[in-house]
Amino acid sequence: MFKSKESLRLLIFMALVLTVPAVVSHVLPAKGHFDAKPIARLRAKKPNIVILSDSMVDNGVDPELLGKLLGGRRVELLWYGGTASAVWYFRLKNYIVASDVHPELVCILFRDCVLTNPTFRTGGIYRSKLETAMHPDEPTYQLVLGKGFAGEGDMQRWLDKIYSLDARRYALHEKIEQSSLRLVATAGPAVSKLRRWINHTFALTNLSGAGAEEAAAVTKARQSKFDPDPRRSFLPHMVATAAEARLPLCFVRVKRHPSADGTVEQSESLRKYISDLRKWIEDHGCFFADDTENAARTPDMFVQPVSDHTAASARERSTELYADKLRPFLSP
């Protein structure tokens, strides 16, 4: 049945096909490069207040105005759209603490249950943002997310060991997107302008159903209990890192898009979750502020029709309201 020479050639073929990608997998770095630029920026600016967040601060906070309203302090926004607790933890540890600038206050603006939803915005298109804030060896990452990313099954884990490039593909997709932007930019607008047009075109408010999906993801843990287990949340690691570096840490829950009367609907379980979160944060020596029931933040200040984002026209007013929230945590 077997023609020996051809069978041998088949074995060689299979060995080459299976081993060459495995060898290349181990030669190439398994993760996107750490982006050290924010450290240099922090050292240059020496801010008094650093705010970590996602796109909630895009139009929500004007750093210069906020600094002025808070007694002439320097404010640095370390925000990036589409980030969440995992990225905030690594930015706190690897940028703010590593820069040694010791701000007067580090503030994290978050929505509902995001602080204890560790996998939220860590995969897919968000992965590269996480990787650029991480060093190659991060024990906390392994503790909280390691298992999830290596896959649940033995087969998946085994394959990930042989072909260890799984994480690399996030960086590759990012590079392909960058190349497309640059290619188009060679014939037309600047990359930054093109990116703005793309973001505008695919804004959540222009996508049918996407707004609802986003809202559901943010409140994924709405029905669950507050869980500060360090194996399942980055929150305890943020608090511990800040405490070790003697950084005052403040968590501000932002107001989500309210109904026409200006109130935000909250289930009993969500209220209980927030109450437990607040207690845990304050018991661990950090500050907590909740903007959800702030009547001064009116529906017209939000991007219409259903976004949690602040409208561009409300930037100044929104900054004033955040200044009111943060003032009590700062020395006069």
Partner: protein
């Protein structure tokens, strides 16, 4: 079970190891058992209609030879059962929905019947394959299969059960009747074909999918953005469906069985008719042989031939799904081929150079993909009504960016097209066997590396599973 699941990585080697240790009869038993495990993996009840169809068509075909006077009755019985299966699972909800719309329009109360059945994957494929067999027996093209096991294998052969190719009894049954020889050279080609199929699916199609999905999720897409999305879908559906076929053909080759070609570079077609000679070849040839020609084909004058053509394409549309957009899609293709015939009759088509014909055919194909992808008729109208002259400059650049992004992912398709073209064969003598062991291994390793490195972050089922 799907090809791109980890389960398949265990399932296939296990089947292959057993398969090549068995005799021909044992191999067929194993393949039938493996096919049922593969098909019923997630939804075991999917096996019930499959078994029903197998038994009825096997019996009817056998009956045709035993009772020649009842041939027509048995043919009709077999076809009615197959169509009833399709009708129940695929079209009943659609018919009911439209009846209710009509009743409401005429002021009557809608029927209070809820009819939503899960469509068993591959139902349209294996019912068409079974109908083809029964008709072939009826007209005497093949003899009725005496062995139920071999017939069950013909209907359920796992590599092609869920999304084709829709095979013919005359091609498959003789292969199941003869001894298969382990062919190491065929294995190399089969493995490479499988890797190429996986690459097309999870690197090209699945990376194009999120771009396309985002464009089609836009409430008011502009002209350049919607057409960039349509271009992305053209790449996605081709890579997805032809990727499935390549995995199926590659898998079959490892089992010593040859499946038919289903695609032949459809986007270099020079006319709508040429497109259908290159796209989903097994379906288009099935429709030609079992619908168009029995209806009358080109006979009866231009008016009747046109009617036959339009009717065949309307059925093509309906075969794809129980939705009006698929009917429109089918009618559109029928209309295009009529226009092509008319232009050919006028002698106009001779004037165009090859590249212009390819570009025009690709353009009309993209229009068809918009009809295919957008199921909401209101949104479809909106998309078609977008004017290129009322578009902000920025939107043109966004469209250019989307096309560039899809193009980068689709680049291997172009390399493959060039490498397998007649030109490459003539000029560089690049044909698969000529690459040599190292060349073949290099290509296959590169494909596997590409899959590891560039596979999509999110993956989805093969598009044609839903049909």
């Amino acid at each position: 079970m799907t090809f791109h699941s980890l389960n398949y990585l265990i399932f296939l080697p296990a089947v292959l190891a057993l398969y090549w240790a068995l005799s021909r009869r044992g191999q067929n038993v194993l393949l039938v058992a493996a096919s049922y495990i593969f098909y019923g993996w997630e939804h075991p009840w999917f096996l019930l209609p499959l078994w029903g169809s197998t038994l009825v068509d096997f019996g009817c075909a056998l009956g045709m030879e035993r009772f020649p006077l009842r041939r027509r009755l048995l043919l009709v019985t077999s076809i009615v059962v197959s169509v009833a299966l399709l009708g129940t699972f695929k079209y009943a909800g659609f018919v009911l929905e439209n009846v209710n719309v009509l009743l409401t329009d005429f002021g009557s109360d809608p029927l209070r019947v809820v009819f939503q059945l899960v469509l068993p994957a591959g139902l349209s494929f294996y019912t068409f394959q079974s109908i083809g067999y029964v008709v072939d027996v009826y007209v005497g093209r093949v003899r009725a299969e005496r062995n139920l096991l071999d017939y069950a294998l013909y209907v359920s052969f796992f590599p092609q059960l869920v999304a084709g190719p829709i095979e013919r009894a005359g091609h498959m049954l003789p292969q199941y009747h003869s001894n298969r020889v382990f062919d190491p050279v065929g294995w190399r080609a089969g493995l490479t074909l499988m890797l190429w199929g996986f690459f097309k699916k999870i690197v090209i199609a699945d990376n194009a999918a999120p771009i396309v999905n985002k464009v089609f999720a836009l409430t008011h897409p502009s002209f350049p953005v919607i057409w960039a999305g349509v271009f992305g879908f053209a790449v996605q559906i081709y890579a997805d469906f032809s990727g499935y076929t390549d995995i199926a053909r590659g898998t079959a080759r490892l089992l010593g069985i040859e499946l038919m070609h289903n695609f032949n570079h459809p986007y270099i077609a020079t006319s709508p008719a040429d497109f259908w000679r290159r796209w989903h070849i097994s379906l288009s040839s099935w429709l030609r042989d079992f619908i168009y020609i029995p209806l009358g084909g080109n006979r009866g004058g231009p008016a009747r031939a046109s009617f036959h053509l339009i009717a065949t394409f309307a059925i093509t549309g309906l075969w794809h799904g129980a939705s009006w957009n698929y009917v429109l899609w089918g009618l559109y293709w029928g209309f295009l081929i009529l226009v092509q015939r008319f232009l050919g009759w006028l002698g106009v088509t001779k004037w165009f150079p090859w590249i212009a014909k390819v570009a025009m055919t690709f353009g009309v194909t993209c229009v068809s993909w918009l009809l295919f992808r957008e199921r909401n008729l209101g949104k479809l109208l909106h998309d078609f009504s977008q004017s290129p002259f009322a578009t902000a400059t920025g939107q043109w650049w966004v469209g250019a960016y989307l096309i560039t992004l899809v193009f980068i992912y689709a680049a291997p398709l172009i390399i493959h097209l060039v490498a397998t073209s007649d030109f490459a064969r003539r000029r560089f003598a690049i044909t698969w066997p000529n690459l040599g062991l190292l060349g073949e291994a290099g290509v296959a390793a590169l494909l596997l590396l590409g899959i590891v490195l560039a596979r999509s972050i999110t993956t989805s089922d093969f598009i044609y599973f839903q049909f």
